[in-house]
Each structure stands twice: as C-alpha cells, then as structure tokens.
C-alpha cells in the first residue's frame, strides 16, 4: 500500500463531497434559492446534505413543498417534524389553491391524478417567491431524459427546459448567470443511484417516513399495480380494497404511487431488496407510463 492509498475516498464519501459542493455553490451564486421538498427519500437526503453543508449554521434557504392535497398523512407529519428539528423555513404551495383560482382543472376518471396540476402550482410558487434557484432531489439514473440533466439546469421565464440546447457544463464550474425571471433547477444527487441513496441513508442513519418500510395497508390492484386505497382514489366497480403487507419505493401522491408487497422493514433489508430488483424505481409510477416521452414533456413544461 503506497501512501497515496491513504487518501482514497469510498464512493459514497465522494458523492457526498460533490453534492455538498453543489449545494454551497447555489447558496453562493443565487439571491433567492430554495430546496424543493417532496417528503420522498431523495429530497430528505438533499436536506440532510444541506444541513451538513452549512453546519453549524442553519440551512440558509427555505424548504418548498408543493402539496397536492393528496399526500400521505405520514409524509406531512414527517415534513413538519423535520422542519422543526432543523429550524428551517417551510413554504407550502397548495394545488387546491391553484384549482380554486381556476388556473387548472381537476382530471376526472379512474386514473385522475393531480400530478400534472402541481407543475402550475410549482411555477406559481417560484414566481410569487421570486426564487432564482430550486434544488431538487432528481437523479440521472431514474429515467432516460433525466440522464441528460446538468447540475445547474437553466429554465426560461416560462420555466421551460430546452434539452436540445443546454449550457455546456465543464469540470465543477457552474454558470448560474441568468436574466431576470429566469431560474435554475439544481440537482445535487445527479450522480447517485437508487442504491447509493439507500446505502447513504444507512451510513448516516437518516430517518425516513414509515411508508418506505413494510407495513399493513388497505390496497387495490389495478393494471398490474398495487395502489394504496384512499378517499382520493376513484374505485372501479370490480375493485375491492384488501389488506396487504406492502412498502413504497418512491413517494408521490396517494393516487399514483405504486406499492409493492414486501417484508423489508429495515434499511438493510431494503438495500438487499433494491439490489435484487429487476424493475426500475419509477416502474411503479403511473405518471411515467403515459408515454415514452412523458417525462421529457413534463420536464420541458417545468415539472420537477
């Protein structure tokens, strides 16, 4: 072993160092940055990294939650506890308000969801608060359009993403310059995989909403998917909720997030399960299944 080997980092520490650098760069380059907080594990990890980046000071930017009104109650409870513990500032954008203002109309039918509507609420929240950078927890390994993302992703004054004409991003030199009314989406977890996120959660002992762990829940089966039963779900005639032992791999709205049957009730067991899984994380998301360019279209329009 040469002396140089002493100075090697394991890959999780290297990813952590990169993400902390990106988050600090946002705080340094922008006047009104924010962290988009969904209550899912990726945004929880981003928040953990932000706390680490600025310790012992508090995170110098607010957490922004776009609340569809169809959230799991567990997610909201977790959010409020985390915000308390970090002494962070929370800003909530309500999709219900956007609907009440008549800016969007609720989808109807059995697969109705508020997933698409939240883009309008998000853009309104960004404009109202004049945010010039929004940090998100998206990762390049999630989906093929996201594999193209920069760390600093430019959005025009209509919040649109132009994937064919992205700014070149070299080394770790991030160019956050923008015209008034334009903003950036920033993705510190770009280079992480789902397994990296879980291994980091284990390593750092990060708390997560109970939904990620195996639990008993009333669910229905629809189109090969298991969906949590709730008052927001429009049942078809032949559908009856039944009690199942499930957990969630991602957390979105109650209406779109597929559960799957699992006994994994610890982080270690989840890591084993994720490592052995042959279906991608977003394979359980009804919102991605609408077409092969579903994500590209939503991202261009300003989605997370």
């Amino acid at each position: 072993m040469t002396s140089k080997d002493t100075y090697n980092l394991d890959h999780l520490s290297e990813l952590e160092a990169e993400s902390i650098y990106v988050i600090r760069e946002v705080a340094a380059q922008f006047d009104r940055p924010a962290i988009l907080f969904s209550g899912g594990k990726d945004s929880i990890v981003v928040t953990h990294l932000a706390a680490k980046a600025f310790a012992p000071a508090k995170i110098p930017m607010p957490l922004v939650h776009i609340d569809t009104g169809h959230n799991f109650p567990e997610t909201l409870e977790f959010r409020d506890n985390l915000v308390d513990r970090l002494g962070a500032n929370l800003i909530v954008g309500l999709v219900q308000k956007t609907i009440d203002q008549g800016k969007v109309r609720e989808e109807t039918g059995h697969n109705a969801s508020r997933n698409k509507l939240q883009t309008t609420t998000l853009i309104d929240t960004i404009e109202e608060n004049k945010f010039d950078a929004c940090i998100g927890g998206a990762r390049r390994d999630e989906e093929k359009t996201r594999a193209k993302e920069r760390f600093f992703s430019h959005r025009d004054d209509f919040s649109q993403w132009d994937p064919k004409n992205q700014r070149p991003e070299l080394w770790n030199l991030f160019n956050g310059k923008h015209a008034p009314d334009e903003h950036f989406r920033v993705f510190p977890l770009n280079n992480w995989t789902e397994l990296d996120v879980w291994n980091y959660i284990l390593k750092e002992g990060i708390a997560l909403p109970s939904l990620y762990y195996s639990h008993q829940r009333e669910c229905i089966r629809r189109d090969g998917q298991i969906l949590a039963y709730s008052e927001y779900l429009n049942l078809k005639e032949d559908e009856t909720p039944e009690m199942m032992q499930v957990r969630f791999r991602t957390l979105g709205d109650l209406t779109i997030t597929g559960a799957f049957e699992s006994d994994a009730d610890t982080v270690e067991k989840i890591i084993d399960e994720v490592a052995a899984t042959r279906i991608t994380e977003r394979g359980g998301r009804m919102d991605d299944k609408r077409s092969s360019s579903a994500m590209e279209d939503r991202k261009k329009a300003g989605y997370f």
Partner: protein, 420 residues
Amino acid sequence: MSTSTHHNGLLRFTTAGSVDDGKSTLIGRLLYDSKSIFQDQMEAVEQASKHKGLEDADLSLLTDGLRAEREQGITIDVAYRYFATPKRKFIIADTPGHIQYTRNMVTGASTADLAIILIDSRNGLVEQTHRHSFIASLLGLQHLVVCVNKMDLVDYDEQRYNELVSAFKSFSSRLDIKDITFIPISALKGDNVVDTSSNMAWYGGSTLLHHLENVHVGADRNLQDCRFPVQYVVRPQTDEHRDFRGYAGRIASGVFKKGDAVVALPSGRETNIESIKLGEDDLDLAFPPLSVVMTLEDDIDLSRGEMLVRKNNQPEMLNEIDAKIFWLDSRPLNTSSRLVVRHLSQEVRAKISEVLYRIDINTLHRDEDNREIDMNDIARVRIKTASPILADPYRTNRTTGAFILVDPSTHATVAAGVIG
C-alpha cells in the same frame, strides 16, 4: 452486491467514437452484463425496436433519452450511465460522436478519469478517433483505452489488430497521455468486454471490464500543492455559535492537516488551521475531493474567491492568462467582446486580447493563418483579466488550472479553457 463497499472506489469514464463504431452497443453490453439494465427498461427497448422493424433489441435506445435523438438515431447530448461491480462503481459519460456536438463531448470528458476510444476494425482510424483522443489529451485525461471493435467482422485477425495498434501509436506519440491500453473486442458478440474471448487466444491482456475495475487513478490527483478555494463563509450568528466563522469549500489539491500553517491569498495573512469539519464531525486532515469547513486560529478577513495555501507552495497570480480554449458558442469569437472568467469560486471580468493560433483538431497542427474561431474550434489565446486569478498550470492541477468564459450579455458559457 448489496453493500456499499466497492473496494476501488469510483471511476468516471467517457466513451467516444464515431457514429457506427458500436459505442451504444458497448455501453449496452457493459450495462447488460453487469446486470444494470432493469427488466422494464429492456422490455421497453425490445418493444420500441420491434416497432422500428428491427430484429434485435437496439441497445442505443437505452441511452438516447431525448425524442429528437430517437427520431434522428443519433446522440446529441451527454447522457450519464451508472453501473457497479463488487470492485468498483462506474459513471459513464456517453458523449456524441458528431463534430457539431463536440462541445458536449468536451463537457463529458472534463470530469472523466479515463476515456474509451472505439475504432471499427474495418475502417481503422478516422477523423473522430484523432479528434476525440486529442480532446482527451488536452483535458488532461491520464488514461486511454483504445478498443478495436468489431473484431468478429475481420475474423479476429491478429495482424489487422496489430496494424491498427501501430497506426494509433504513431499518432498518439503527439498526445500527452502516458497510459494507453489496447484491447481487441467485439461489443456485439461480447468478446473481451466482460468475458475473455476464446476467439482471440493470441491476445494475452485483460478484458475491458477487468481493466476498468483495476486501473489505478488515485495517483492522478494532486496531493502535493495545497489549494483550498473558499466557496462560502459559514456564520451561524446564533447564541451557541456567536463567534463561529468557518470557511467552506472543496479541497482542490494537496492535503491539509489540523494545525497546519497556512497563508490566505491574495491578502498574504498567515495563520493556522484550528479545525477541519465535515458536518458535525471533526477531521484531522482533508484531501481532494472532500468538501469541508475550516476554522482558523486568527480572525482574518477571507471570503469567497480567495484561497488558503502553504507559504512555501503558492499558485501564480495571473492578470494575463495563456490558455488553450474550446469555443462552445454558436457565435464566433470576437476579441472586442467583454467576457467573464469563472475560475474556482472566483469571477472576474476579462477580454481575449489575442488569438495566437487555431489548432487543427484533426492533425494537431497550428494554424496561424486562420484565427477565426467558430463553435467547436480549439485555439491558443491570451486573456487579460480585470483582477488577478490564483491559478496553476492545468497540466499539474486540473482544478486550479481550468476556467470557463461567460458572455455577460447572453449569460451563455462561450468557452472552456485550460491554463498553460
């Protein structure tokens, strides 16, 4: 593979080659054989391939994520791919081959430790082979793997392989890359990609994956010259931490230890490192690429854009930068434009005072007669800055020797530069 221990850490590599060299197939093979392609992704690709009337699954559909790319069947922008083996975790920057997207290739290569150059055994060295190897060399990549692909189509002929290896070697003597490895492969059939080929008994070297798992890149980092650019000043201003003043940043190079005597630049003030923190933890030392917070024994004025170094080993303070630049903007270089240099955490106003020559990207020759610099051109220039930057030659320091140029009127990143 459920644990987080990949013994050899992280390897970032880029793949380059011209359109039909089989780049996507190679990446598909690496992902597929390392079990990194998921069932639903594979099903989607098979379905799309069938829809296009193809017999076999077109693995390039896995990597081409944009609608325009799928429509045109080409890669426009860098896509990042991830896979891991028990030995190492890998990040692939899958970059476009077309000359008009060279800027995206440069983007992908700037953060890579290693580049894979693909050569079609039937066509031999082509323009892209030269261009991509040259860009890898300019960007300071220390490791090149030349994969002579489609060996199945030349009957796994040793002589043909040797011809291509010597052709590449006579070209690469002009490059600044020390570690060049040659591997004969067939990405389509899987020869020497993950498994040793039984068709090429004459080849005694490693398979590609074995090489990627074991190539030593740790020595590429600069651990000698201590450079800590201050990125952000942490001041909690709470009762508990009333007087806390921490300097946050990422170690660019060198090893910093608690208690070390350091000099703040450009002020020249001397002090010692009181503590090195990562979150709540105290560290005894820090090295690249760690992001840490340092506190100092003396209360000195230090802010973003400034740097902590050792007294006997300091960077240069440059008002005039000699550099090679990659022009990335669709509008040609105009020496009367006012620009901004972004270097480390610093931003200074600048101007390109002189274009010394353009470099022919295919022959590496200097072209002093043609100083018009268009998108995708490489040029040697002289830049004047409004205030000095703290820099090292790129050859010795890939972090403190790199910069980008931003046009303040359009906010676009118009060029990338390497100092020296």
